[in-house]
Symmetry: C2
Subunit: 231 residues, 2 copies
DNA sequence: CTTAAGCATTAGATTCGTCTAATCCCACTC
DNA sequence: GAGTGGGATTAGACGAATCTAATGCTTAAG
C-alpha cells in the first residue's frame, strides 16, 4: 500500500519530468511540495527502494514504469475530479485545484469509474490537460506548441492552460484566456513577455514567458504563423 | 488543526455515546476502530488535553461541547456524502459507507456547501439518519421507537436503518427493509428475534434483536400497536 | 474482607514523514 | 589543479499513531 504522501511525490516528479528530459532534482521536488530538501531526499530513498523511481545520487530521479503508472493513476483522479467539480458541482475553472489535490488520494476505483461514466469519459480536463485513460497508458504531455514559441501575427486558439498557480489562473480566466479562446499575437518582446489580442475584441493581455510556457496553442485555420510548423 | 484520525475517534465516541448515557469505554472505541486498547487510551489522552473529551481514568470518556461540534461536522460530512453518492452518483444504499468514511475527512467547507445545496439541504440520509445542520446544533439521535420495542400485530413504517454493517445492510435492502417500508409485526419470539411481514406482500423477514435495535419505526395510520404510545 | 478476573493504563519500541544542523560532492573559476 | 559556492546528502531528533508486554485499577464473588 502506498501512502497519500508517496502519491504526492510521484505526481510531483511526473509533473516536473514533463518539463525536460533531465532527471528531476531533489530541490525542485522539495520546492513544489513545500518541504525541505532532506525530506525530499529521504522520500526519494524510499521510492527508489520500492522501485518506483530510479535514483542517481546528487543527480536526481526519474520515474520507473511502475512509478509512472502510479503517477498516472493519481493524475487521472486529479483531472477527473477537476472536471467533475467544474461540470457537476459548479466550481470555477480556477478554484478546483486544491479540492482535487486532497480528494485524488481518497476516492475508490468505484468512484473513479462512476465519475468517468457520468462525464462520458472525458479526454481533457477544464484546463485542457489530457486525462489518462482507465488503462493508464502513458500520455504525451508535451504535445503541442506553447505561446512562448509564437511569433508576431500568429492567429492561435488556446488548447491548454497548464499553469497551476490559482492566482495566475484566476487572472487568465478573468482576462479571457481559457481553453478555446482565439487570439492574435501582437508582440513578442525581447524582455520575456508576449502580448496577445483576444480575437473577440476583448482587449490585449501581456503574458510573461514563464506563464506563456504553460499555454498550449494551435494555429487557427488560415494562420500564416510559424507555431504549427514548429510542432 | 485536527488530524483525520482524531476526527475518526471523535465520530466513534459520538456514535457510541448515543447508545447510552454511560461514559464511553476505551475498549468499545478500540473495537469500533479496530485498534488495540492502549492505542485508544493514548488517543483519549490527546483528545482530553485538547479539551475535546472529558476523561475519567478507568471509567471512560464523554465528548465536551467542542468535541461534539467536531463530531457533528464529521457526521454531517458523512451523511451528506452518503446522500450525494446515492442520489447523484447512483451508488447503492448499502455500499456508500466506506467511500463516505474516507472522504468525510477531506472535503472542504465549499464542497460541503455545494453538495448540500445541490441536494436541497436534506434532513436525512439514505438510511434515514438525521443530517446535522450547517450550524451543527446537537441532534437527538435516539428519537423514535425501534423494532425491538414492537409487539405482535403492530403496523409500522420504517423510518431509519442505522445499522452500519454493509452485509447486513445489503441483506435488509434485498429483503425490502428500507426507510419507507411498511410492515406488520408477526411474531416477537422470546429467543430474541422479530418476524415482520412486508405490507406489500413480499413475504416475511426474521430480524434478530441486535439488528432490530437499529431499525427505527413509526406507527402506520390506524395502527393499534403499542409502538407509538411507548415513544 | 479478600481476592481473582477483566479491563485500563503505563512502558517501551516501531514506522512514517518531517525538521535543523552538519557534512559532503560536483562543477566551475582561476 | 586548487579552491569555492551551492545544491544534496547524512546525522540526529521529534511528533503522531500504532503495537506488544507488563503492570495497575475495580469490582463482584465468595
Amino acid at each position: 500500500m502506498l501512502s497519500a504522501k508517496m502519491e504526492d511525490y510521484l505526481k510531483a516528479i511526473y509533473e516536473l519530468q514533463r518539463e525536460s528530459d533531465e532527471p528531476v532534482a531533489t530541490s525542485r521536488i522539495a520546492d513544489l511540495l513545500d518541504v525541505t530538501a532532506p525530506t525530499a531526499t529521504s522520500m526519494m530513498e524510499s521510492l527508489a527502494e520500492r522501485g518506483l523511481v530510479e535514483r542517481e545520487k546528487y543527480k536526481g530521479v526519474r520515474l520507473t514504469p511502475e512509478g509512472e503508472t502510479v503517477a498516472l493513476e493519481v493524475v487521472r483522479h486529479h483531472r477527473l475530479l477537476e472536471t467533475y467539480l467544474t461540470e457537476e458541482l459548479g466550481y470555477d475553472w480556477a478554484e478546483v485545484h486544491d479540492e482535487a489535490d486532497r480528494l485524488e488520494h481518497h476516492i475508490s476505483e468505484e468512484f473513479e469509474r462512476r465519475v468517468a461514466e457520468m462525464l462520458d469519459d472525458p479526454a481533457v480536463d477544464p484546463h485542457g490537460d489530457p486525462i489518462p485513460t482507465d488503462a493508464l497508458d502513458p500520455v504525451d504531455e508535451t504535445a503541442g506548441t506553447t505561446l512562448v514559441e509564437a511569433t508576431e501575427g500568429d492567429r492561435l486558439v488556446v488548447q491548454r492552460v497548464s499553469d497551476r498557480d490559482p492566482e495566475e489562473l484566476a487572472y487568465l480566466d478573468e482576462a479571457g484566456i481559457v481553453p478555446g479562446t482565439e487570439l492574435v499575437v501582437e508582440e513578442v518582446a525581447p524582455i520575456g513577455v508576449v502580448s496577445v489580442a483576444l480575437a473577440d475584441g476583448e482587449g490585449t493581455v501581456s503574458i510573461p514567458d514563464a506563464v506563456a510556457r504553460t499555454i498550449f496553442v494551435d494555429a487557427t485555420d488560415g494562420s500564416t504563423g510559424s507555431a504549427t510548423e514548429a510542432a
